[in-house]
């Protein structure tokens, strides 16, 4: 059988992902995680004298802590299988990526294993975040300097 013929057969037989169901699940779980984040924010504002602007930091740290517990007990991957982007996109997903890699590579020791592999999955987020921030800020700086926009 020719390659093109087979690729056609494969297209016919392989089921498409359930797009609507997946997006709905991602929407609901992602929304829920953000709502929990909102509650955590409020908790810090009311009980710890943070302001709306500064509550973001402890909130994110707390969400990552939740991710550690869920990841360590093997629960985050079950949520991930169900929710897809709904659990990968929130910062808990970033935490899960870092923590799961750290847990996995403990068997190679703390220095080479954990240290050398902890950013295996999340590294690209850090890299592209920093690089894009650099270029965006640089471009804006240039535009401000030549007077096209203001800060």
């Amino acid at each position: 059988m020719e390659k093109e013929q087979y690729q056609q057969l494969e297209q016919n037989v392989t089921p498409k992902p359930p797009y609507f169901k997946n997006v709905a699940k991602a929407f609901i779980v992602g929304g829920l995680i953000c709502t929990i984040g909102q509650a955590v924010s409020l908790f810090y504002i009311i009980f710890f004298n943070f302001t709306e602007a500064t509550a973001g930091n402890p909130t994110v740290a707390t969400m990552v802590f939740f991710a550690m517990i869920l990841t360590g007990f093997g629960l985050y991957k079950k949520i991930g299988q169900f929710a897809g982007a709904g659990s990968a996109v929130p910062v808990t997903g970033f935490g899960n990526a870092v923590i799961s890699a750290a847990i996995e590579h403990r068997s190679e020791g703390l220095v080479l294993g954990v240290g050398g592999n902890i950013f295996k999955l999340a590294g690209s987020v850090v890299l592209f975040g920093v690089v894009s921030a650099f270029f965006v800020a640089l471009i804006k700086y240039i535009l401000v300097t030549i007077g096209v926009v203001s800060w």
Binding site: F27, I33, A83, G95, L110, V125, L127, V136
Partner: protein
Amino acid sequence: MVMTFVFAFFVGGIICAIGQLLMDVGKLTPGHTLSTLVVIGAILDGMGLYEPLIDFAGAGATVPITSFGNSLTHGALAEAERHGLVGVLTGMFEVTSSGISAAIVFGFIGALLFKPKGNVD
């Protein structure tokens, strides 16, 4: 007050839905998807659009990974405004450190406490 929660749910959900479409329709890996969203967050802040979203949706905009791109850019822009070009580099991690620090610290602690378990459900 209640509305903030509703908006947080809605906006957070939309951002995740966009991520899901990138994965399913765009056939991107999770790494590619999250990197794309981070870059989008950075660009939106460059255009001054992300902070208003945070005012509107609270955690719905600060919890998704897009806010990481936003806060890196925000820090860079703030420092560039104050101290010129070098601020682009020095300002980035001023506002963002808690997420990454938390992930590293809890990752380390997690590695000490837990072992991977190959269960399926």
